[in-house]
Symmetry: C2
Subunit: 347 residues, 2 copies
């Protein structure tokens, strides 16, 4: 069972990250050049599922490093309501591994018809999404057979990170990106250990996954993997939103998985986890920081020191491995979650 | 116990909606005039908790009727990372009943220092948020004693709806708004019945709340009430996002609460609920539509026909009543959820 598509695709991630870095940098650089000329006023990111979590990372990247507000699209305005907002000053980016989802294609097509700059980030460069957009960036992930996206997710983050760094002309960040494949490989060495650790959570019924800032996206993606693969209620929250009400659900033993890399959000997340201690939760912590790991019943140490802006590409990997481990512990099929199809045609 | 603050504040909503319509229309009109002159390129909405759900409604309203893309702010860019994006072409709106949350104040203060048009929507016109913004719109809700926001939530939606209609100079929508208080009163007549119905869910451990388009916000808000008050895992989803993975969690008897008013999203929601039937979920449906109600184990009929864009102000009320009923059925205190404070100071 360890040799599922899911397991193989999780392990392929270092190679995919390396491939996309090599093959797409030229296309990214030429898009970056056009972005500097056109200077869009804001960005609209259209996506669903795992790709929407990648878009969430894009929101923080583009805001922090490109000084531009990025909105997650509300596709029903384009489809159900047929009342699309003005997009002429926007950069419109569609993210979809399959490139098939009609609602995401609609946002891109509308942007293009209004004269906006449009970009497709997809694993299928012949897909309707790629055809609708002016520019396509290829995820270069090869076929993804598992229904739960893993390598196309990290590759989507990589493409967004390359785009942000190239647009800003930030040579230092472009160099840092080159180290990502080897960091991912180092994290994957822990796979057998994480599969074993997941046993403890065989009968977990629900959990919260929390992250802040750049890793808000990671919290969403790890929660989605847990829901898709293990059918438990896994709800993502930023530590800030969580304190505005939902914290009430935490009682003794309630599992909270925290994503806590080094960086500006770490202190805030640590304070939050300490404030939870009075409720005696069960903590799982993905972090390189000893003081964060010390709070956890289940520490999931990150063996490498990563710049915070890049950490979502890597901190998600222990979460993927944990979701795989829990799927196996619960006796489910990692490649065929009940009732899911690889391509979901929502409008 | 029925005479809790929460119960009283739920019942005060028609009066509060009436008050805000009467008292704030002048301020809204004068802001609308300035918006037509300034013509911002996009909107940034900053909020947390229930107010963030109101902001989500604002995203759809402003997109559909004012033709403008609205982004939900990412406050950590302004606070933890100190890398705020450019806001000079933006309208920046902060929504907070208390007006105290430092992260929301930071977004408004940054917008103002960059020369953006800034608006505070708050129940405390002397709060830090009101002081930071150029223009303040008052929720006129009077003191809200219950920790779970109800009347300040519907009042926030009303202020956003008034602003959208006035900005568009849409006389027909401004007239429709006047009927909201009486519609709310009609829905509240069902309170004793809904309290009784909640008994059936005494031992529910988790549920999904789903809505689409304008009522995506309602799904979030009803889920938040359930989490705050009854401590169950209630997860909000648009029907579209839900089909991209999380649908895997639905098995026989799994509770799904659907918000399904008349309008452009209704057919899509109906198709979605029918597609769920093979999994034999337990359906609770808030709707005026007989064919939607017929699918439900627990129909929560809306007794009035409401334009879809206004339905979030009203469709949330049966959800609030259901959350109150479940709180009482489970023997919890509706006014003092464990571990919550009325004002949450996140940064």
């Amino acid at each position: 069972m360890v040799d599922s598509h899911l397991s193989r695709e999780i392990r392929e991630q270092p190679a995919v990250l390396q491939t996309v870095l090599e093959r797409e940098m030229e296309a990214v650089s030429s898009l970056a050049e056009r972005l500097r000329q056109r200077a869009p006023r804001y960005v609209v990111l259209a996506a669903r599922g795992s790709s929407d979590n990648a878009a969430r990372y894009g929101q923080y990247l583009l805001g922090a490093f490109n000084g531009i507000t990025a909105a997650l699209a509300t596709p029903s305005l384009y489809t159900l309501y047929r009342r699309p907002p003005s997009l002429k000053d926007a950069l419109v980016i569609g993210v979809s591994q399959s490139g098939q989802s009609p609602d995401i294609v609609s946002v891109i097509a509308e942007g293009r018809s209004q004269g906006a700059l449009t970009v497709a980030i997809t694993n299928d460069t012949h897909s309707p999404l790629a055809q609708a957009a002016q520019t396509t960036l290829d995820l270069c992930a090869g076929p993804e057979y598992s229904l739960a996206a893993t390598k196309t997710y990290t590759s989507s983050l990589m493409v967004l990170a390359m785009l942000s760094a190239a647009w800003a002309g930030d040579a230092e960040r472009l160099v840092a990106l080159q180290q990502t494949p080897q960091w991912a490989a180092a994290i994957l060495e822990d796979l057998p250990h994480v599969l074993q650790i997941a046993e403890r959570y065989r009968y977990m019924e629900a959990c919260v996954v929390t992250g802040r800032g750049f890793n808000y996206a990671t919290a969403f993606e790890v929660a989605l993997k847990l829901k898709e693969l293990t059918y438990i209620m896994a709800e993502p929250y930023s530590s800030a939103d969580f304190q505005h009400g939902p914290v009430a659900i935490v009682e003794q033993g309630f599992p909270v998985l925290a994503v806590l890399p080094e960086g500006a959000a770490a202190q805030d997340m640590l304070t939050f986890l300490r404030s939870l201690q009075a409720r005696e939760p069960e903590l799982l912590v993905i972090s390189p920081l000893a003081e964060a790991l010390a709070l956890a019943q289940t520490p999931l140490p990150l063996p490498v020191s990563i710049p915070e802006w890049l950490s979502p590409l890597l901190a998600v990997i222990p979460g993927q491995m944990f979701a795989l481990g829990l799927t196996l512990a619960r006796g489910y099929d990692p490649d065929h979650p009940r009732g899911l199809r690889k391509v979901t045609l929502t409008r």
